[in-house]
């Protein structure tokens, strides 16, 4: 724990170095928890700003990036999402929820045999576009999106 913490603090103080290292992907994949949490990206208030903060200023729609999510979520607090990239050499995937106060939800870097495939559960404050962004090793960004409706109310079940 102490080592972990020191490493993270060290990362935080060396943000310039980190920015260079980030060129390898959306995030630095080499060391365990060694990257700095991308505060600017996670605290950005809209999707374009958040995408810019992760370096994904321009993206192309891709049919090979698959985003699976319910058409209508039973509970906005727990919305299951699957993302799977068939785009060769995908090294990172990030998830954005346009209408959330902070759209960037998660970013994954894959290495050492990990497939570009992730499932996760996210909170959604209201009906919104959910967006996946994939980055390839050559620095290109691809995107796929889907609207998820969020309902309110209901009793014990």
């Amino acid at each position: 724990m102490d080592t972990l913490r020191r490493t993270v603090l060290k990362g935080a103080s060396a943000s310039g170095v980190l920015a260079t290292a980030l060129a390898a992907g959306l995030l630095k994949p080499t060391q365990v928890l060694a990257s700095e949490w991308n505060k600017a990206a996670f605290e950005a208030k809209d999707t374009p700003a958040a995408m810019k903060a992760v370096g994904a200023a321009t993206t192309a729609e891709s049919k090979d990036l698959k985003l699976t999510a319910p058409d209508i979520a039973e509970n906005g607090a727990v919305v299951p999402i699957d993302i799977s990239s068939g785009i060769p050499n995908t090294i990172s995937i990030a998830v954005f929820v346009d209408k959330n106060p902070s759209p960037l939800t998660a970013a994954f870097n894959f290495a050492n045999g990990a497939m570009a495939d992730a499932s996760l559960r996210i909170k959604m404050g209201q009906t919104s576009i959910v967006r996946a962004v994939a980055k390839t090793a050559d620095g290109k960004f691809y995107t796929a999106s889907k609207e998820v409706k969020v309902t309110a109310g209901g009793c014990g079940g």
């Binding site: 994954f108 894959f110 050492n112 990990a114």
Partner: protein, 104 residues
Amino acid sequence: MGSPMKVRAQMKGDFADIKILMSHPMETGQRKDPKTNQPFPALFIQQFSVEVGGKVVVQAETGTAISTNPVFGFKVKGAKAGDKVVVKWQDNKGDSRTDEATIA
């Protein structure tokens, strides 16, 4: 120290299917305590990593919009039954947790 995770890993054809359940409140910092009308302070996992056989396969950064008691799933090629899977997380208050499992 955080509460234990539950990590499951099994071979499915040519890849290892890894499922991770974390025990964490994932407090957004925006939810108000109805009694005091003060927001509960933000408390959320910011980073986690997955190692298989000693190598980092997934490194993740997460925000407040990950659901409480997070659940993640990944697929890893080149792994085999018996390989050790190690998952580590760290939250915004510096708490952390490491748990492991063996690929079945």
